[in-house]
């Protein structure tokens, strides 16, 4: 017998599902007149007749329907790859950031090579992909400004100011390692970049804000990322104009028109390194002139009569802010917790009743809270103390722009005097 398996015989296929014979017979009707039920089946038959040898003539090799099917399959496969790729990108970023501190396992240490093509995605997409965990993790990477309750010292010399864009705060990560912090403007697919923590494999975490801002401006222009979106990069990146917080800079940030919707002012301490979580070295402030959203709204977009706060329930029933260490606003009693079945570390929404907040020696002593329920699922953290306080002061005795100008002006004067002294 020959060595080669016979290719022309019947070939059995997987799971016994399909047999492919290579002989094709014409089916012919065996003369039974039309009938129903069982006999119908008897009509199928073949006779030993010449084999049909017609081949396609003047026909395209592939039908358009087949093409539609194939293109459709290609699209589906691409969509599936994209979905899985995004899931991995997200995880990859988390892992590589975690690995920044951890020693890679020696056995698996192989030099990673930077990928050339950029695949950007932001927290919104990340959150769509993988629940609260990822959202929380990403949010934790952000340096979160505290709210300005008091004017900090040396505002005019040690601080920058800029008009804060309205929009969602994002941590933009490209797969080749660029990590930017900015505000996303959905309608025109533009990111207004404020900060940058990693560029071309170089970490900027340890750099001062002054350096980071310089870097943001020069690098974004260099790479063409600020050009209009195209197939190759889906988003446009623009920088935000940052001023020294002197009287002129503060006035410009407060009054000058900007290409985006303004939502308050952001103040950056020039010497601060990038630090994730709440920090008093970045501050946010707003009033009706520079923001449409001074007072917080509720889920329906209405401003509630009473101020609302979101606090985290601790193991022992205490209600904490997101600060580290947390500020305690009160304590839920055991019965209530048991009755409602609330679990530790869930976020809860409260209204501040008429009793308001009471302070002693500049510290919160007592809060008159009323339980409302659970906040929106998208919430990752409890409110910070400064946020609650800012909202509280806005409702009672707001910190006005005049106070800021006064501070900047007086500080300028002080400085001038100082300078004079030294020269003198």
């Amino acid at each position: 017998m020959g060595e080669k398996p016979v290719t022309s015989g019947l070939s059995c296929s997987f799971m016994g599902v399909s047999w492919t014979g290579f002989l094709i017979y014409r089916r012919s009707d065996w003369g039974l007149t039309g009938s129903s039920t069982g006999i119908d089946n008897f009509k199928q038959d073949k006779v030993m007749a010449p084999h049909d040898l017609r081949r396609p003539f003047k026909r395209a090799a592939i039908s358009d329907q087949q093409r539609r099917r194939e293109l459709s399959l290609q699209r589906q496969a691409q969509n599936r790859r994209d979905a899985q790729h995004q899931a991995r990108c997200l995880a990859q970023t988390i892992l590589s950031l975690q690995n920044d501190t951890a020693e890679p396992h020696p056995e698996f240490e192989i030099a990673a090579q930077a990928e050339e093509h950029a695949q950007d995605f932001d927290v919104r997409q990340a959150a769509r992909l993988k629940g609260a965990e990822a959202r929380r993790w990403f949010a934790k990477q952000l340096m979160l400004p505290e709210w300005m309750i008091d004017v900090p010292d040396r505002l005019n010399t040690d601080w920058y100011v800029c008009a804060r864009p309205a929009g969602k705060r994002c941590f933009v990560v490209s797969s080749n390692g660029q990590r930017l912090v900015g505000y996303a403007m959905a309608p025109d697919q533009t990111y207004y970049v404020i900060d940058m923590v990693c560029w071309g494999g170089m970490s900027l975490y340890e750099c001062t804000a002054e350096f980071r801002f310089f870097w943001v401006n020069s690098k974004l222009v260099e790479t063409g990322a600020s050009n209009d979106p195209s197939t190759y990069h889906r988003y446009r990146f623009k920088t935000v104009v940052i001023y020294n917080c002197d009287p002129g800079g503060l006035k410009a940030a407060y009054t000058e028109p900007v290409p985006y919707v303004k939502d308050g002012l952001l103040f950056y301490n020039k010497h601060a390194h990038y630090q994730s979580g709440n920090t008093p070295l970045v501050l946010v402030w707003k009033d009706e002139n520079c923001s449409q959203y001074v007072l917080d709204t509720d889920g329906k977009g209405q401003i509630p009569d009473q101020q609302q706060v979101v606090l985290e329930l601790l193991d022992d029933g205490r209600l904490a802010t997101s600060d580290d260490p947390p500020v305690i606003f009160g304590c839920l009693d055991k019965d209530f917790i048991q009755k409602t079945g609330l679990q530790a570390s869930t976020l809860l929404r409260f209204a501040i009743n008429e009793g308001g907040l009471c302070f002693a020696d500049g510290k919160l002593e007592k809060a008159d809270l009323q339980y409302l329920g659970k906040p929106n699922r998208a919430r990752a953290f409890a409110d910070s103390y400064s946020k609650v306080m800012f909202q509280y002061t806005v409702r009672h005795s707001p910190l006005r722009i005049e106070h800021l100008f006064a501070s900047v002006n007086s500080l300028s004067e002080e400085e001038n005097t100082c300078d004079t002294d030294m020269v003198g």
Binding site: P5, V17, S36, D45, A60, A87, A102, E103, K130, A134
Partner: protein
């Protein structure tokens, strides 16, 4: 046990339907109540020379259908049923069958032949009925020619039914001896010769050993060649069929005979009756098929390892073969272009010429060129048509003359008095555009200078007779396709509106149902849309409304005859197909996607009405279009689910039209990605149906791998909610994975399928791991990890990228739980390193991911 069935069998063929139905019912009852008795009665009827031939024939047929069925699961049941019958009953039936071969009624003999083959098909693989072949062979030596004829016919059917392995070489030798003797000229009876020649056709697959033996092969070849010269046309035809089969089955043994075969075939092509001449041409077509396959596989680079060397038979025969084929081109039938089923010498010769061109490339040019030059301007339309057709097989090789001929053809397309010439001219233009136009062509035939003229001529030709207009649409299809990757500015933009209007006009022609003109027009419209740029996005958007209106109109038609309904159904398919292309086009960029969204509700509503038109099954085209729509609408698709869901179910249950089922499975994936966790309420039912599909023997195997991928899509969409399906899905994946590991001895087709299957399994695992990421329920997956790691071990290069991704997903999701498993697995490390050093960018990217995830899993 037997019963008198003659009258019932005759009644079952009565003209009166009441009588007939009653008889059928009786037969059915008898079969259900007493199967052995029923089968015995039928075999007795078939064998009984005193019974009318009509009842004997039907008895045999029913018997045959009790042994075999088209559907695989039914066939399997029937086989089991026969095997479990009482041995005595079976041997009595078989005795009756063999006895019938000696009947004087030819219908009875022929029926018995087929039934015997069916029984053999069941029993021989089980090593039962060992005496069958022996007793058949003893018949061959009997004197009455009709017994000999029936026996040879039986041997032919038998060879078709069983695989060669189940017959001993000794018996094969005897069968072949009997068959070849029956064919030889010493056999006086032509019926016997014909039966023997046809039997050889089926027995050729058994003759591996005999074809390796020079003497035996010489003998077989001599007898076959002699039979091609038989005075009986049917014998000549059957003998050429044998030659065609030998050409593809024993290509590598052909060298000593090819010269003789050439003489025989060219004589037949030039002189014999058409059925014979067609087979003679087919011989060369199938040799082309063989050589194209060999050359594609080895790229002309033959080594000692090559299974089959290329003997370049076509190249050697070229100087004589091409003129012979060119001659056939002149033997056109007057109206072959209007006849869908036509197949004649000119068509077979033209097709073969195309295959020859593919086999030998440039070498054909000097042989074809003079023919074109000599004939293309001749007054006889046959000569002009043949010369024009001769461009078709290899326009890319004829570049110099094509450039000259283009203007001539553009004129001929509208001015030639003969419709046949115009038809071929339009087709040839399409071939020219397919090969000599497009971004990859160095000097494209279509230039800014002639583009407008070409379009004008094609649009004008689209008003010609349906067959001509259809070919003109085809030419326009390839013209558009050539501008596929033209960038942001297309030369077609200025003509876009006019082209679309002309195509729509064609679809409304009263005779658009002829020559598949309407289909061609819509297909061309699709390609024009696919290849359009942003410049014409607004016009494509306007087209949405036009096509929606058309579709709406088909839905308003009332009280249709079944013929009209079929046409309406076909038209709906074309319109849904067109909408699908438009949706996919507009969905590809954000601005057009948002502009399109305004129509989403209306379109979905129309698709649902299309589904409602058909009672039993959903429309594949509408389903494909809905997949594209789900992608475009994203989470908004949720609002269509309550109405759409039942059709999704119907699609998933459509085993018969497996394409519909496959398309529906793909759409489930689209919907998963669009709805994400909002698909959860539907998942119980969807998963149930998918699991049923997987375990069905009826469903075409090609649908199964996509179902696995779909598991992954669902898991990724619903995350840890997939928990409750794990206990069903995981064992399915596991057993499929085990099956796919056994590929030893598989052929190419099987290996390809196995890789598709593996890819589906891997995509399922990826989706499941990614879906469970960060869930407290990941520990549910841990017990599956060892098996999955083992599965990853056995991967082919083709699925490497997906496989290394799964390794990463596993490590990422299971974290430290998987760390030690992976560390223990030496092959995982090798696999990772292999992927990391891959040349393929995508494999490397996935490998980087896996490396990171693994190092994390190990370090924790």
């Amino acid at each position: 046990m037997a019963m008198e069935v003659t009258q019932v069998l005759l009644s079952a063929q009565a003209v009166d339907s009441t009588v007939r139905k009653h008889a059928e019912e009786t037969l059915k009852q008898f079969q259900e109540q007493n199967l052995p008795g029923f089968l015995l009665s039928l075999s007795g009827e078939l064998a009984n020379e005193e019974k009318p031939v009509e009842s004997r024939k039907l008895a045999g047929l029913i018997l045959k259908n009790a042994l075999d069925a088209k559907e695989q699961h039914r066939k399997f049941e029937l086989v089991q049923r026969w095997l479990s019958l009482d041995a005595a009953v079976k041997s009595q039936i078989k005795a009756c069958l063999l006895q019938t071969l000696s009947s004087t009624a030819s219908d009875a003999r022929s029926t018995a032949s087929q039934v015997i083959a069916k029984v053999a098909g069941i029993e021989l693989p089980q090593k039962q009925w060992p005496e069958l072949i022996g007793s058949l062979l003893s018949n061959v030596h009997q004197v009455p020619p009709h017994v000999k004829q029936a026996t040879l016919e039986t041997l032919g059917y038998l060879c078709e039914e069983v695989v060669p392995d189940v017959v001993d070489q000794d018996q094969v030798n005897k069968i072949l001896t009997a068959v070849v003797q029956g064919m030889s000229s010493t056999e006086g009876n032509t019926e016997v010769q014909l039966a023997a020649t046809r039997a050889l056709y089926n027995a050729l697959g058994f003759a591996q050993a005999n074809f390796s033996n020079d003497m035996e092969r010489d003998y077989i070849m001599r007898v076959v060649c002699e039979a091609t010269l038989s005075p009986e046309v049917k014998i000549r035809q059957a003998a050429f069929e044998c030659l065609v089969s030998i050409g593809s089955t024993y290509y590598e043994k052909l060298a000593p005979y090819i010269q003789d075969i050439f003489h025989i075939t060219s004589k037949a092509v030039r002189e014999d009756e058409e059925p014979v001449a067609l087979q003679a041409i087919e011989f060369w077509s199938s040799i082309c098929d063989e050589e194209i396959d060999i050359l594609e596989e080895y790229g002309g680079d033959f080594t000692a390892d090559s299974d089959v060397p290329c003997y370049y038979f076509i190249k050697q025969a070229l100087p004589a073969l091409v003129p012979m084929l060119l001659e056939t081109l002149l033997k056109q039938e007057e109206d072959q272009d209007q006849d869908e089923g036509a197949w004649n010498l000119a068509m077979a010769g033209g097709t073969c010429l195309g295959l020859v061109a593919r086999t030998v490339g440039d070498d054909i040019v000097p042989l074809v060129m003079p023919f074109i030059e000599e004939n293309i301007t001749k007054p006889d339309w046959r000569q002009r048509e043949a010369a024009t057709y001769a461009f078709g097989p290899s326009p890319d090789k004829l570049t110099p003359i094509v450039n000259v001929a283009l203007n001539f053809m553009l004129t001929a397309l509208t001015k030639d008095p003969n419709s046949h010439v115009k038809d071929t001219t339009a087709w040839t233009l399409g071939r020219i555009f397919e090969f000599l136009h497009g971004s990859t062509v160095e000097t494209p035939i279509i230039t800014p200078a002639n583009c407008q003229q070409i379009i004008t001529v094609l649009l004008q030709s689209m008003k010609d007779a349906p067959n001509v207009a259809e070919k003109a649409c085809g030419a326009l299809y390839f013209l558009a396709q050539g501008y596929e990757d033209v960038g942001s500015t297309s030369p077609l933009t200025p003509y876009f509106q006019e082209i679309v209007q002309s195509l729509l006009y064609v679809t409304h022609r009263e005779d658009a149902g002829e020559s598949r003109l309407r289909t061609a027009a819509y297909e061309t419209l699709n390609e024009v849309v696919r290849c359009s740029t942003d410049e014409t996005a607004r016009l494509v958007l306007e087209l949405v409304q036009v096509i929606m209106t058309e579709l709406h109109n088909t839905l308003e038609a009332q009280r249709l005859s079944s013929d009209e309904r079929e046409k309406q159904n076909e038209l709906q398919g074309l319109l849904c197909g067109c909408l699908q292309v438009i949706i996919q086009k507009l969905g590809a960029s954000d601005p057009t996607k948002y502009a399109f969204m305004q129509y989403a509700d209306q379109i979905m509503n129309l698709f649902l009405r299309v589904f409602a038109c058909r009672s039993a099954t959903v429309h594949e085209e509408a389903m494909l279009a809905i997949g594209a729509l789900a992608y475009v609408t994203g989470p908004n698709f949720a609002k269509y689910m309550p109405d759409f869901y039942k059709y999704l179910e119907m699609g998933l249950q459509n085993f018969e039209e497996y394409q519909v089922c496959a398309v529906t499975v793909g759409v489930v994936g689209d919907i998963c990605r669009a709805l994400e966790d909002k698909i959860l309420p539907y998942c119980d039912q969807i998963m149930t149906l998918l699991l049923k599909d997987l375990s069905s023997n009826q469903l075409h195997r090609s649908v199964k791998p996509p179902i696995f991928s779909c598991f992954g899509d669902i898991a990724l969409a619903i995350g840890e909610n997939f928990e409750k399906y794990l206990m069903y899905a995981m064992p399915m994946l596991q057993s499929a994975a085990e099956l796919s590991a056994h590929t030893a001895g598989a052929d190419d087709e099987m290996i390809e399928y196995t890789n598709i299957l593996r890819n589906g399994i891997l995509e399922a695992y990826s989706g499941i791991f990614q879906g469970f990421k960060n869930s407290p329920k990941t520990q549910l997956l841990i017990s599956y990890a060892p098996h999955i790691l083992q599965f990853l071990d056995s991967m082919d290069d083709v699925v490497m990228k997906t496989a290394i991704g799964v390794l990463g997903d596993l490590a990422d999701t299971l974290g430290s739980n998987a760390g030690s498993l992976i560390q223990q697995s030496l092959s995982s490390k090798d696999f990772l390193n292999e992927c990391l050093s891959s040349e393929d960018h995508l494999i490397k990217e996935s490998a980087e991911w896996a490396r990171l995830a693994i190092s994390r899993a190990i370090s924790v």
